[in-house]
């Protein structure tokens, strides 16, 4: 990660364009209003496409031309992707869309609008905010509120727990296996894939917690971004609880308008679900692995829905078993979809998928030294235990307990655990790259 001052201009461009677009959209009506909105979207998507997808598209054109013995005269551009580009571009777009829908007044104060796009806790990796939720808060006077500050710090502490203890610990195993997938057995690859799903969840939701908690300390409420997705009872529910700000963005601004046209046509609606996940995959990165991840995830939701409609398993299984089996099966499906997310190439992903499906023979890799393997198991169990309590026994609280002794014991345990088994290798948050 480098600091390149000139990249501030990218952010400045987005802010200026959307600031004026918002005002023009509000002032105009009819076709003109739509035209201003389209111009703003083209500008935002254009920047995103240029920085994020130019080389990907160009590489694929080169590949296709090569098949016909042609050379591509256009060479790849050499630049680094501005940090958080996908996040603040989407946040900026949600502003102009909401203004055009009449849900948000155009912001006249340039500083406030710039703050909306650049609000630092969530600038680089979300949550992708909506203007209705945050802009008004910038006008409210802030004062030091003990309860609020403490509540914010608790969220931050939990975020650090997820990042330093779970995500960065599991990344040691995942990196060792996924960077060398051809040397590992089916069970090792399977375990690494499960660990990766937990890693990426804790990495990203850990960041979101730190962002939400920091904002809360300063007096701002950001939207919820994760709701214990690993405990979702179905694939669809898991994704509904995952990166909520992105999926509601797609739902509100892409799915909703398109589904109006597809109303009553089930095939089209299901196709739209796959399309939304495909877009989500492309949003994540310019790589075929993300495209496959998106398609796989979308198709798994469609398959789940069709299965539930045709077979109606709830007729044969009790609600409790539906919950248990649904949680476990969807956990495995989502983990396997993340195989595409983590693999370095489609070839690697297919190899890993095949090795898992055929349970390629070999010993279980435990890492070096082998005793460290137990840390992976411990942190995974710790995470699942806490999440199970939060989900099913929300009244049982430790750092949120009213009893001061239990509460302080909770703080101390989390901080001591961070010191004792946290990983302090300075690794970046995975979602910074998006």
């Amino acid at each position: 990660m480098d600091f390149i001052p000139i990249y501030i201009l990218v952010l400045a461009f987005t802010i200026v364009v959307d600031y004026f677009a918002g005002i023009l959209i509000e002032k105009s009506s009819g076709a003109k209003r739509k035209w201003y909105l389209r111009m703003s979207i083209v500008a935002n998507v254009g920047i995103l496409a240029f920085f994020k997808y130019f080389n990907f598209v160009n590489d694929n054109i080169t590949f296709v031309l090569k098949l016909f013995d042609f050379t591509n005269p256009v060479t790849d551009l050499s630049f680094i992707l501005p940090i958080g580009l996908s996040f603040h571009t989407f946040q900026a777009m949600s502003y102009t869309i909401e203004v055009s829908r009449g849900n948000q007044k155009a912001e006249r104060n340039f500083g406030i609008y710039a703050l909306y796009v650049m609000f630092y806790p969530q600038l680089v990796a979300g949550p992708i905010e909506r203007p209705q939720n945050i802009i008004n808060q910038f006008y409210e006077p802030k004062k030091f509120d003990y309860d609020r500050v403490v509540a914010g710090l608790k969220i931050v502490l939990w975020g650090f727990f997820k990042k330093l203890i779970v995500a960065d610990r599991l990344s040691i195993y995942v990196n060792a296996v996924y960077n060398n997938p051809y040397h590992h057995s089916g069970k090792t690859l399977f375990l690494a894939t499960i660990f990766f799903w937990l890693q990426i969840y804790c990495d990203f939701s850990g960041y979101s917690d730190i962002a939400i908690g920091s904002a809360k300390v300063m007096g701002y409420d950001l939207m919820e971004n994760f709701r214990r997705p690993i405990l979702g009872k179905s694939v669809a529910e898991k994704w509904n609880r995952w990166h909520i700000s992105l999926y509601t963005w797609f739902k509100d601004y892409v799915f909703a308008p398109l589904s109006k046209k597809a109303r009553r046509n089930k095939t089209k609606l299901l196709g739209l679900v796959v399309f939304i996940f495909l877009l989500s995959g492309i949003w994540h990165g310019a790589n075929w692995t993300f495209v496959f991840w998106g398609i796989f995830s979308g198709l798994s939701i469609v398959a789940e829905r069709l299965y539930k409609e045709k077979v109606k398993p709830q007729k044969y299984i009790s609600k409790t078993w539906m919950t248990i089996l649904g949680t476990i099966i969807s956990f495995l499906v989502c983990s396997l979809s993340c195989l595409f997310f983590r693999a370095l190439s489609v070839k690697d992903a297919l190899h890993i998928g095949k090795a898992i499906a055929t349970m390629k023979k070999g010993a279980l890799f435990k890492g070096s030294p082998p005793i460290n393997f137990y840390y992976f198991i411990i942190v995974a169990i710790l995470l699942l235990t806490v999440e199970l309590f939060q989900e099913y026994l929300p009244k049982v609280k430790v750092i949120g307990n009213k009893n001061v002794v239990i509460r302080y014991t909770g703080y101390v345990i989390v901080i001591m655990l961070i010191l004792m088994i946290g990983v302090f290798n300075g690794s970046q948050f995975i979602y910074f790259q998006f």
Binding site: Y146, V149, N180, G362, Y411, M416, G422, G426
Partner: protein
């Protein structure tokens, strides 16, 4: 600021300082417990490291990564050369780690022979990064007591040193399980003066290619390799730099290997390459593609000990006389 806000701020800082005080006390108590456990560690990496730098006494010291740990049987060296031997190898380490502990050892003890096992990517930045982390985990517990370790940490990983100075627990980060349960109980390892045999073999399928052989060398790592050679030379310690057998697709050389050979030739020190020696290039002798199993290690160590003996008898027979009393 209103009166109410002042009340909130003072309440917050009062509780915050209480929490800090509790954390400070617990950090000291748990840190001290971990420190004691560390000093009395049963065996394994911690014990090997501690022996290498605090009470080294053997005639021969082996340095290297996991390939050294599992590939050089100290008992065979002792049997063949009638010299005591200790294997100071460490998983995931590279020359950065070895150069540091060699210097520390020489402050206390001068062995007769040092054997350094290297890999074809010994000097790459990737290896350096791993080694730095391993070195940090090993020396941070010593930085409060030993200024030379504090200086090494200051030079190589100042941020880690700062954390270790603030928290007494932090130097034992990720060592808690090893210390609490005892590494031997978990790993069921046999350890013979640092040598850890691994049994059986899991080499299956096609012989894979070696990766990263074209990685560029890291200048800092390169200078550490030179420092290692120079230190051994200046202390009149007989040095053997070895590339032990591997079971991957044959390749001629690597950037790291060429660089090391060029440095060694400047110091007139030998480089013995057994990587694709036909005597050992057999699937059954390997645990995995990079590590000899116990059978392979025995065969290889016998050959190496015999070659060293022949070399010493020819060039410096005095080494085989007056062995140290260790073992």
């Amino acid at each position: 600021m209103t009166k109410e806000e002042i009340k909130h701020v003072s309440k917050f800082f009062k509780k915050f300082f209480i929490l800090l005080a509790v954390l400070f006390v617990l950090d000291r108590i748990i840190g001290t417990l971990l420190e004691n456990a560390y000093q009395n560690a049963p065996q394994g990496d911690i014990k090997v490291f501690a022996h290498s730098i605090t009470n080294p006494a053997e005639d021969i010291f082996i340095y290297g990564s996991s390939r050294a740990v599992h590939g050089y049987d100290t008992r065979i060296f002792t049997d063949s050369l009638a010299l005591s031997c200790f294997n100071s190898g460490r998983e995931n380490s590279n020359i950065l780690y070895h150069a540091t502990i060699l210097k520390e050892m020489l402050k206390k003890h001068k062995p007769k022979i040092v054997v350094l096992d290297v890999s074809a990517k010994e000097l790459t930045w990737r290896a350096a990064e791993n080694s730095k982390a391993v070195l940090a985990s090993m020396i941070l517990p010593y930085v409060r007591k030993d200024t030379s370790f504090a200086n090494i940490a200051r030079q190589l990983f100042p941020e880690e040193l700062m954390k270790a100075e603030v928290s007494k627990i932090y130097p034992y980060n990720s060592l808690v399980l090893s210390l609490a349960v005892g590494k031997h109980k978990f790993d069921k390892e046999e350890i013979y003066n640092g040598y850890v045999p691994i049994h059986g073999h899991k080499v299956k399928g096609k012989v894979p290619s070696f990766t990263d052989e074209n990685d560029k060398t890291d200048p800092f790592t390169k200078s550490n390799f030179e420092e290692f050679v120079k230190t051994a030379k200046e202390n009149n310690v007989k040095l053997y730099v070895i590339q032990s057998p591997i079971y991957v697709k044959k390749f001629k050389t690597s950037i790291s290997l060429d660089t090391m050979k060029s440095i060694l030739s400047r110091y007139n020190e030998p480089f013995w390459d057994y990587s694709f020696d036909t005597a050992f290039y057999k699937r059954d002798l390997f645990y995995d593609n990079l590590h000899l199993n116990s059978v392979g290690a025995e065969l290889f160590t016998r050959q190496l000990a015999s070659d060293i003996k022949a070399d010493i008898e020819k060039n410096d027979p005095s080494i085989l006389q007056h062995p140290n009393k260790a073992n």
